[in-house]
Symmetry: D4
Subunit: 160 residues, 8 copies
């Protein structure tokens, strides 16, 4: 049973959103992936948002570009934390539209926004959220912080 739901507004968002899946694989967190368009399949979005927590999903990652309504609309439909990934899609103005239409949610309906095209970080954030109820996953995340450190120290060594 998947713990993280990854949804995106269009198939063209897949190359970016795959990075969320990859890091969840690496950290050992189960997930599911689907295309759900706020504007083209609003009923599917409603079903997804309303029922995800009933299926055991712990957090939802939603990626979209341009006037990106999927993360915010999903957040309005679920008690789960929703992580938004602003995508610099073909029709985006340098990413500003994607960022602002995900980040600037009104009071009552938060979206946990990550960096532009930051799907990898969305995956790590999802793992951190799942880890709130799973001590062994939190251990894994403490290790991951060490892995990041070791990688930089090794690169620094090579520079010399």
């Amino acid at each position: 049973m998947a713990k993280v739901g990854i949804i995106m507004g269009s198939k063209s968002d897949l190359p970016i959103m795959q990075e969320a899946a990859d890091i969840l694989d690496y950290l050992g967190v189960s997930y599911e992936m689907d295309i759900v368009s706020a504007h083209r399949t609003p009923e599917k979005m409603f079903d997804y948002g309303r029922n995800a927590h009933k299926r055991g999903i712990k957090t939802i990652i939603a990626g979209a570009g341009g006037a990106a309504h999927l993360p915010g609309m999903t957040a309005s439909l679920t008690p789960l934390p929703v992580i938004g990934v602003p995508i610099k899609s073909r029709n985006s103005i340098d990413g500003w539209d994607s960022i602002l239409s995900i980040l600037q949610m009104p009071g009552g309906i938060p979206v946990a926004t990550v960096a532009l095209d930051g799907a990898k970080n969305a995956g790590i954030l999802a793992a951190k959220i799942v880890a709130v109820g799973e001590p062994e996953l939190m251990e894994r995340l403490v290790e991951y912080i060490d892995e990041l450190k070791e990688a930089v120290l090794k690169t620094a060594e090579e520079l010399k």
Copy 2:
């Protein structure tokens, strides 16, 4: 029976959105007004979007601020033209978030966006759209263009 539907995401948008109602009154076009929040009352938004054209509404004016999803989500639910009014609400960043999250809609789902806080122009645009099927309203709009001209010419005269 109202020809123009005016909706807004929050009661705090009313002072701006009232300008749309006022100009429609002036031009003699019937309208209705309601508060419909994309994020707080998504079901109401669905009902509104799905049924407006069945009730004889010809065009919908939707105003919202910040991560403004109401105009675009409504546009995804109706065959009617939707006019979006970006509002510089309290939680808006100089209006940029409102503008971009209304304007930058993906292919397939247009929103006819007007200027920031431009509810008056939204009302005029709605009248122009209604006038497509009503020749006498188009005559009224030709007159209105003349009224605008006369007002400027009179001011210019006073300057001298």
Copy 3:
């Protein structure tokens, strides 16, 4: 007899503006296309704006880039709804100039602005406006919304 007038400031805008024509063909709405420059052929723009509604045109789509004055100036000359397409032309600063000089019209003279390079959406919006007076075209648009949904659902199926 054409129902939609598509005009653009320069031949270099044609690749973008053709998308408006293509979707109008697809939706079965007649149109005409012309190059009208606000700055280089102001008289032609005057004639076009003043007479379009007399020739049976129901709405005008105007595309331009940089300091884009064609949509707004045309809107000042006609009682018809004018749809503006901001184009990210060679001399545009990431599209911001095109967007702002079309969107931010003064009170009295609205332009229905669509997304940057959003000519396809301009075509759909034009069809929605024409449909105000043509019930069978509105039916076609209801179908189109379904087509968009089916296309996304099919792609989602393939992802699995």
Copy 4:
């Protein structure tokens, strides 16, 4: 024992950050509050970040303005999810600096960013994260979504 840690870079951030505390009170989630400056008390920040999860804290809300380093630096020190609140402080350029220096974190170190001055939403997001391990809190959040809806419907009623 507090489940949410609220920290801020300066006492001047308190009026905004208090909104996070208020909504947590309302939702019945325990919290603690402290001033921790990335630039003025870096050791305290280190201690806080390194030990929060050992004290039972489930998620950290960090607010800061201008070149806002507190959320990101804290995120680099803890396995817990960190929620960042960009604050439009006195030395901020319309909030853009606060937003970008919190949102645009490098791969590996996510910060769950909310809207400018969006401390209330940060509190709700924290509750949603805590609820991942507490079913009764998730029930409370489902209720909260209904409360939001009822409030809007009541306002809409008054408009009529």
Copy 5:
């Protein structure tokens, strides 16, 4: 007979545009002032642009805010140099719309743009242009440069 024509899109631009008149008075250059709206009185704009050089006007100062089309449209109608003053009017987004819709003119139709609300500088620039054909006015401008220097040196003295 006036040598400089000062026009503005709306009476609300007068407090700013008056600064152009004041500095022209100070420098001893004759001028005329009028309200000419690109969108509300397009015929008057045409007449003004087409005939100004025939009446002995040497340069035109045009001020406008928001989607500011007056300077560019006037420039398309006259062989005279046109100076554009972007005005941060009520409906302007921090002045960016005014600046970009005046500055970013297409090849062939220049507008000499000055700073936001920079009507005083527009007046000085107009005087510099008129001085191209009037040596004694150029002498006056050389003096003016000295006056600016003396004023600063005096203030610097007071600081000590």
Copy 6:
């Protein structure tokens, strides 16, 4: 004897600035061209600015990119009108730095700013300024406006 002085901050600006020279050639206005760096050859800039009008130069075109100080500094040294060309040079942030550091001059020292990389328009503006004292050049400019119109009309014809 040259009537227009074209200066630029670096040889890398030449491909853009050549367009000013080309249009002046086309319009039959004499010019001279030089590299003058505000930051690397400040004395040369002083000499140039102080003496240009004594050599018969009627207007100066100055192009520069990034923190572009050449146009404004030159304007502070000469009674002649100075035309500034913001250049999107290698070290420029999308041209915004070039535009703002040329456009936003303080009261007293105007720079006639043209569009980003708008050297062709700078050349035409220079010709318009020179024409203030030369009726036959103004005739040439009236013709040029007609040439622009004819070119667009011909392209429009081809579209059909």
Copy 7:
């Protein structure tokens, strides 16, 4: 004999620039203050820039707003490090013009830019630079870092 030279483009910059003087007083570093306008007193700027290091000045703080040329021009004239303070003056567009025209200097001529209106930080930076040759001043700066820490810790204590 002053070790730090503080200059500003206009007397209106004094309230901001005084903060640089105040912190230098606090840290025990001698300074002098003057008004030097790049555009109105270019010769004075030349003299100042060329001679400051001969008079024993170790670093120069230059503040200016709008198209702010004083810091960069001074930097081109002196071998000393120049610290630039972008000032959000009356004619500035939210400070962006001041920042970009100081920060984005071309290769060869650095300006050490601080935050918008950041004169206090300019003073501290100047003290850090002077301290390169004065070990006891560096001791003072180590103390200052501790003072900043103590002030925050005390405030944090009061919060509890």
Copy 8:
């Protein structure tokens, strides 16, 4: 013994940061280079910041991109002047995030920010700072200013 410390957040910043090293070589100033990540190796950053001045380092150049915290965090740990280089890294939004998160430091903790990708200027600024205590290096910098001038004059000669 190195006088300048060059650090960067990631190996991918090396091509830009190498320009700082190259100009320091050219000016004859010793330096050291290392990779220190604020977010991945915070302890190393602490050690570096706390001890650099004890090892004889006179100034630190720190480069980073996106939410760039390395320059500001290092500045909070050392009494030395810290020069920040905003880098337009892969995850940066046109460089704005890098610039603002380095430039907009709070009162008390200055970072001497240079232009986007301006590592060469960071190197020159470092040399100017080191020269505060070394008269012969200041002589070298006076020469360097002349070299810049000669290079431009030679290019100007070639243009003719």
